[in-house]
């Protein structure tokens, strides 16, 4: 399916019309998008405070890496599912928006980093101490996620 097909499907679909025309559908979905973001970014703050060694030092990293990771993934899935529902009624508007494009690229970078590098780092024994390597990894993680967040906020201001 090409992007154009997705566009046509979206604008032709009666189901998506419901989302488009309801006064409250998108605002309510956006609220759930924010719950997801709070959970995801909150989890990333917790993990990275611990990984960099500047906070939550009394809680073992091994525990956080398992349990807070799950919260982060839960938040990410909620944010992505609701984000897709917000995107679907008006794909052309979002596709033309530079902040949205930046957000999608940043999201791919953040998710890639998260699963390819970050997960391994926080699960290794070396994650228990705030070494320079851990601090750099924590900074990369936080920067990538907050870039996604800021780009997302900028969508509204770029029209």
């Amino acid at each position: 399916m090409s992007l154009q097909d997705l566009w046509r499907m979206s604008y032709d679909s009666h189901t998506i019309d419901i989302l488009r025309n309801s006064k409250y559908a998108i605002p309510v979905i956006q609220s759930f998008h924010l719950f997801g973001i709070t959970l995801l970014l909150g989890s990333m703050v917790i993990l990275n405070l611990r990984l960099s060694g500047i906070g939550l030092r009394q809680i073992p990293m091994a525990l956080l890496a398992k349990q807070i990771w799950r919260l982060a993934i839960g938040g990410l899935l909620l944010a992505m599912a609701t984000g897709f529902l917000v995107f679907l009624p008006d794909p052309a508007r979002y596709a033309a928006n530079y902040a949205f494009r930046t957000k999608m690229v940043a999201l791919c970078v953040a998710v890639g980093f998260q699963f390819l590098i970050y997960r391994r780092v926080i699960r290794s024994g070396a994650a228990e101490s705030g070494s320079p390597r851990n601090i750099i990894v924590a900074c990369c993680s936080l920067t990538s996620w907050f870039l996604v967040g800021w780009a997302g906020r900028a969508i509204a201001f770029l029209g």
Partner: protein, 163 residues
Amino acid sequence: MSIVSWCHWLQSTPWATSIRQSDFMFPVIEGSHILALSLSVGLIVLLDLRLLRLVLPSERVSKIMNQVMPWALPGFGIMFVTGLLLFFAQAEKVYTNGYFRVKMLVLILVGINALIYQLKFYPAMAEWDLSESVPRGAQAIAIVSLAFWMIVIACGRLMAYEL
């Protein structure tokens, strides 16, 4: 002077006007307000989930509280300051917005909820800190906290559609 006309005066002050009309300041303040949710509510969620024994059940509640609060409190500080600036910039419309009023009401209830925890459960925390049974009341406070914070976030998001 009525509150509405006071709000009108407030948002007409030069610095409130400059925030409202700035292409840079307003988005930065609003973005900070939203993303600081991660530091404030995001960290309180951890504490609530621990009280419900859904995360880190092997760690003491008091320990998690001590570790999390030094970060959550500055987070709430950012929320308060940026929220106040956003209010100044659009005081009249915000004050008359129904969602804003619900948000403020629920914020007060959240504060009372936290106060009840501090008075009733915090002093005796050592008794059940690690046990399998967190007092029912403390669990209820955690559920109320999670639900109320969701209402606060939703009202904050919904009110912006009407400004």
